[in-house]
Every structure is written in structure tokens, then in C-alpha cells.
């Protein structure tokens, strides 16, 4: 009778009448389903998608002319134009269209966010995984380095890195990226510590998998939830930090339209020409808001205890 049961299950595909096609349901699939239910998260996603479209179409919305790129077309006869009309966000002290600069600035911000997150995520995840997997001396050495990084105030660290390497976008990204490493390393280490004790890791070892394979294929995929959340939130932080560094003059150099640099330039005219400060400021706030919304939504979607 028992053998019969097995035999029934073994019936070839198509013969079995109740063989309904089943959907492949990965963890990511479930997460997306839960994510979609959160209105705020979807709103954040909408903001970021809109921003990506804006950044991608910057060349079309504000094309370059014969001499200058689209963000640096000056019209010295029409400086400080208020919003509306031909220039929907108005013009700045050189008569440049602020909307064009914001659209081009979106490219820089997203680029900075992406590169910074890549730098800190790759380094942080590697360090955290090694530290968590091989406890002992390796763990101690790595975590003390991380502690040292954490002990230096972020702005001081960034200023010294930029001071050593010189100002400019690339160095700002390195500075902000390095400053983000500890966050990833600690989160990943904590998850690895809990995942490596699970039975399926022992099972993986029992089929002859080596350490590298166990870390990359079995442990890290199970630590993805906190890493993704941290990356989303971290991207917001990175954009904000890069804007702050540009604001104090360490980042992007003029005439590049970085939002933080735009804020810094327009500070002088704030009293008389509100729109020059307003739009870059709103742009920064919006993208940070959107990314944090997504981050929160993902955190909830990844946490099955919050399932309703």
C-alpha cells in the first residue's frame, strides 16, 4: 500500500489529472506581493521612477546648444527670472534654466547614490561575511577596523579623504562610500552569524561544499533582506551626504549642476529670489523621502512577522 502511494506520485507528467501548473513562488515574489500592498512604499517607488525618467530624459528636456551643455546655457539678459512662463522653475544668477539644472542634477545624484552604495555594499558585505563566517582572529581584526572607522565622525573622515585626494565628484563618492562600509559590515555579520548555525549550512557541508561556496551560495542569499533595506536607505544617505559635501564646496565643482552645490550657490540670493533655493532643496528632499519610503516598505515586506 505504501509502495502504491509512491507509485501514484511517480506518474509521468500529463497523465495525472490533478497536475495543475503551479506558480514558482520565490521569496522575492512574496516580498513584491507584500510591498505592493503598502501605499506609501508604492508612492516612494513612483517618485524614484519619475526621477529616473527625468534623469534619463535630461538631454531631451534640456538639450545642449552649440557651445554649452544643457545645464550651462546662460542668458545674461534674463537672470533671476521667477518661475513660470518659459522657465518653469525660473532662472538663476547667470540666467540658466533651473529646471534644466535640476534635471541634469538628477543624473548626478542618482549616479552618486548608485556608485556610493556599490562601493560600501561590496566592501561591507565582503568584510561582514568573512567576519561572521570565520569567527576568531579574522572577525576580531575586521571588526576592530570597522570600529575605528565608526569612531571617526563621518564629515571629518570625508573632509580628510577629499583633502587628501582633492575635491571632485569621484573623491566625494569614495569618501561617502568608505564612510558607509561599517553599516553594511555590521548588518551582514549579524545575519551571517545567525544563518551559519542553521541546519542547511551543515547539510551543505555534508554534501562536500567548500567555504567559499557555502558563503556565496548558501549564506549570503539568506541575508539579502537586511542588505537590500540598508542599500535603499543608504542610497538616500549617500545622496544627502554628497549634497552636503558639495554644499560646503568639497564635491562637484561649478558649473556641474549638483543639487547641493546649487543650494550653496543660491544661498546668497535667498532673500530676494526664493525659487533659486527652493527647487534644488525640494528635489533633494523628494528623492530622500522617496528612497526612505521604499526602504521602509521593503523592511516591512521582508519581515514575515508583519504579515497581516
Amino acid at each position: 500500500m505504501l509502495t502504491n502511494k509512491v507509485a501514484v506520485d511517480e506518474a509521468p507528467v500529463g497523465v495525472n489529472a490533478d497536475a495543475k501548473p503551479r506558480k514558482k513562488r520565490s521569496q522575492m515574489h512574496d516580498v513584491w506581493k507584500r510591498f505592493r500592498k503598502s501605499r506609501t512604499a508604492m508612492f516612494g517607488l513612483f517618485i524614484i521612477i519619475a526621477l529616473i525618467i527625468l534623469a534619463l530624459s535630461a538631454e531631451i528636456l534640456a538639450p545642449a546648444d552649440a557651445i554649452n551643455p544643457g545645464y550651462d546655457i546662460q542668458d545674461l539678459g534674463n537672470t533671476f527670472a521667477p518661475p513660470g512662463g518659459e522657465h518653469i522653475f525660473g532662472t538663476d544668477n547667470f540666467g540658466r534654466d533651473i529646471f534644466a539644472r535640476i534635471a541634469h542634477g538628477a543624473r548626478i545624484s542618482l549616479y552618486v547614490g548608485f556608485v556610493v552604495v556599490s562601493i560600501s555594499m561590496v566592501t561591507g558585505v565582503t568584510l561582514g561575511a568573512l567576519s561572521g563566517y570565520y569567527s576568531g582572529i579574522i572577525d576580531n581584526v575586521i571588526m576592530r577596523i570597522i570600529d575605528i572607522l565608526l569612531a571617526i565622525p563621518f564629515l571629518l573622515l570625508a573632509v580628510s579623504i577629499v583633502a587628501a585626494l582633492g575635491p571632485g565628484l569621484r573623491n566625494v563618492m569614495i569618501a561617502v562610500g568608505v564612510a558607509g562600509i561599517p553599516g553594511y559590515a555590521r548588518i551582514v555579520r549579524a545575519s551571517v552569524l545567525s544563518v551559519r548555525e542553521q541546519e542547511f549550512i551543515e547539510a551543505a557541508r555534508s554534501v562536500g561544499a567548500n567555504n567559499f561556496r557555502i558563503i556565496t551560495r548558501h549564506i549570503l542569499p539568506n541575508c539579502m533582506a537586511p542588505i537590500i533595506v540598508q542599500a535603499t536607505m543608504g542610497m538616500a544617505g549617500a545622496i544627502l551626504s554628497a549634497a552636503a559635501l558639495s554644499f560646503i564646496g568639497l564635491g562637484i565643482q561649478p558649473p556641474q549642476p549638483e543639487w547641493g552645490a546649487m543650494l550653496a550657490e543660491s544661498r546668497r540670493f535667498m532673500r530676494d529670489h526664493w525659487h533659486m533655493v527652493m527647487f534644488p532643496g525640494v528635489a533633494i528632499a523628494t528623492v530622500i523621502f522617496g528612497l526612505n519610503m521604499i526602504g521602509d516598505g521593503l523592511r516591512d515586506a521582508f519581515d514575515p512577522r508583519l504579515k497581516k
Binding site: L2, R22, E202, A203, V207, A209, N210, R213, M224
Partner: protein, 335 residues
């Protein structure tokens, strides 16, 4: 391979001699396995029976060389597997043994599969690790293995959480048998399953074992399972085998007081009993084993000498049945 096994069927595939595994901690040394002896022929199934804490799982992990180190250490003995001493092998060499020549099935199928990898890919992983095949061939073979354990191929791409406990344990079995290992170690494979599923899984294991001519170590505390699928039984107490023998010999004629106690603690449906007859006392603390025979504080028939001397030699009860107890050794005059 088949003619090879036929040739070697008389010699032992696995021969463990005086194996000792200790966990060395700051609070003291846990003597989990002490001078354990065990041997197994090709195609044979041995049941490793004992209470929780008797060292069954540590023995299994020891054979796989997967005892967590630190704190665990194989402090003595040999594990001869097909003529080679596994305790002397390098880590890299052991990785080629694990999964390919010796496989292990873990107790809880709920936790022994990786939740983020489809089951088919988890089976293919073993095949890819040990056989020179392409990824596509490995996946095809994985689906074949799933069919063998009774899982239809349209479910192959699903994730472990989409399967029931019994189905998952079948997947685990498929992983364990994917490379056709010579030895399969099952660590209480059915404890986490309910009885009907348990029977199905055992039946499946029995059939596959026959098909692949695999030797098996079945770790269990269920004498019913032993009676069902094992050829031999080894009774473990405090880290060593106290009685070993052919299933029929041992079940009909248990000798060691501990074995007798185990059988007595089973409820008998024929008799109208009000209470079970458990063995008195508890398993000794492996950090502080009693002097002499480790079982003497719980033994009803212990003699004075049992407190001083530990039995070291096995006494043959019959050709296929040996016991390690001073009651039967010549120095104390036997039974």
C-alpha cells in the same frame, strides 16, 4: 561498480575502531564518544540506537568529519572507510568524500533545505560538485532523482516552503542519494514527521537503498524503525556501543542490562499495564562519567566490580552478537 561491490561484499565497508570524540570546552571535557567500535558491510543497514545524548549524532558527524571544531575533536581511533582512514584525510580530500561516497540525511527536513534555492537546484548542486557534468545535465539528473523519490518534475522548480514535511524529507533523500554514495547516514530521518508520512519515507528509503546497494547507518531511538529496516543493531550508551548484533539475535536475546531495560520500557499492547517500566535514573553527564562501567549506577544487576572496572572487551554471545558487559566476561564468572 556492481561487480566491485559483489567482490567486496564480505569485507567491511566501514570499520570504526576505538573512536573517541571529545568536546573540549572551558567548563570541562565532554566525552561524547568513547572507544566506539562499529563495522558495517556493503549493502548492510545498521541501526544505531540510544537515548538522547548517547553520542549517536556525534558519531555520525565524526564519520563525516563534520564535528564542529572547536570545541569538538577526534581524540583517538580510526575510521576505516573502504580501506582508507578518514581521520587522516585532509579537508579537501574529505570534501570529495562528503556527498559523493558518504551522504547524510538530517533530522529536520524543515531546516535542512536552503529556503532561497529551488529544490531542483539544491539536488543539482551535489551533482555539480562531484561529477563532471554540465549544469543542464545536472539539472536533468536532479529531476530524475526527484521522480525517484516520487516528486513530479513540474514541482521541481518550487522552493522548499512550498512542500510538506514528508515531501521535503524526500528531497533531502534525493540530495543524499544523487551521487550514489556507498554509505548513507540517516540521523533520525523520521523524527520530525508524523507516523503515516514516516512509514512512507522509510519505505522509500528501503527501496532506494536496495536499488543503489547503499550501506546505511540509521540513527534512531525508535526500536520499531530498527525492526522494520535494519539488518544489524548497535545499542549505544554514554558514547560507546554496549551491544551489537544481528537484528533477530539481539531482539530475541538481548543481553546487556541496558538493552533489556530499553525493551522493557516499550509498552506492550498484549498486557494491560498501568505504567511503563522506564530505566531508572538518567543518562550520566558526559562531562563527568561514573567510574567503572558508565551504566552501573542505573544497573539493577551491577556487581561490585562494575564500579571499579569498565568493560573493555566484547564478549561473543553468538557468531553475530557481541556484548560489552562485565557480567558476561570470564573474569567475573559469566552469567
Amino acid at each position: 561498480m556492481p561487480e566491485n561491490t559483489a567482490q567486496a561484499s564480505n569485507e567491511a565497508l566501514l570499520d570504526i575502531q576505538d573512536l573517541s570524540i571529545h568536546y573540549i570546552t572551558e567548563d570541562g571535557t565532554v566525552r561524547a564518544v568513547n572507544n566506539l567500535n562499529l563495522s558495517l558491510k556493503r549493502g548492510e543497514t545498521i541501526g544505531l540506537v540510544g537515548e538522547t545524548g548517547a553520542g549517536k549524532t556525534t558519531t555520525a558527524l565524526g564519520i563525516m568529519r563534520l564535528v564542529p571544531d572547536p570545541p569538538g575533536k577526534i581524540v583517538g581511533g580510526r575510521i576505516n572507510f573502504a580501506g582508507e582512514d578518514l581521520t587522516q584525510k585532509s579537508d579537501a580530500a574529505m570534501r570529495n568524500v562528503r556527498g559523493k561516497r558518504i551522504s547524510m540525511i538530517f533530522q529536520d527536513p524543515m531546516t535542512s533545505l536552503n529556503p532561497v534555492i529551488p529544490v531542483r537546484d539544491q539536488i543539482a548542486e551535489v551533482i555539480l560538485l562531484h561529477e563532471k557534468v554540465s549544469a543542464a545535465e545536472a539539472l536533468a539528473k536532479a529531476e530524475e532523482m526527484l521522480l525517484k523519490v516520487g516528486i513530479r518534475s513540474e514541482r521541481a522548480r518550487e522552493y522548499p516552503h512550498q512542500f510538506s514535511g514528508g515531501m521535503r524529507q524526500r528531497v533531502v533523500i534525493a540530495i543524499a542519494l544523487a551521487c550514489n554514495p556507498e554509505l548513507l547516514i540517516s540521523d533520525e530521518p523520521t523524527t520530525a514527521l508524523d507516523v503515516t508520512i514516516q512509514a512512507q519515507v522509510l519505505e522509500l528509503m528501503k527501496n532506494l537503498k536496495r536499488e543503489f546497494n547503499t550501506s546505511m547507518i540509521m540513527i534512531t531511538h525508535d526500536l520499531g524503525i530498527v525492526a522494520d529496516i535494519c539488518d544489524k543493531v548497535a545499542i549505544m550508551y554514554a558514547g560507546s556501543v554496549v551491544e551489537i548484533g544481528d537484528k533477530y539475535d539481539l531482539f530475541r536475546n538481548p543481553k546487556h542490562p541496558y538493552t533489556i531495560g530499553l525493551f522493557n520500557s516499550l509498552p506492550d499492547i498484549e498486557k494491560d499495564e498501568d505504567s511503563l517500566k522506564p530505566i531508572k535514573g538518567f543518562m550520566p553527564d558526559p562531562m563527568d562519567l561514573p567510574s567503572g562501567c558508565p551504566f552501573h549506577p542505573r544497573c539493577d544487576v551491577a556487581k561490585p566490580i562494575c564500579m571499579q572496572a569498565a568493560p573493555s572487551e566484547y564478549v561473543n554471545v553468538s557468531e553475530n552478537h557481541r556484548v560489552k558487559c562485565l557480567l558476561f566476561s570470564d573474569t567475573t564468572g559469566g552469567e
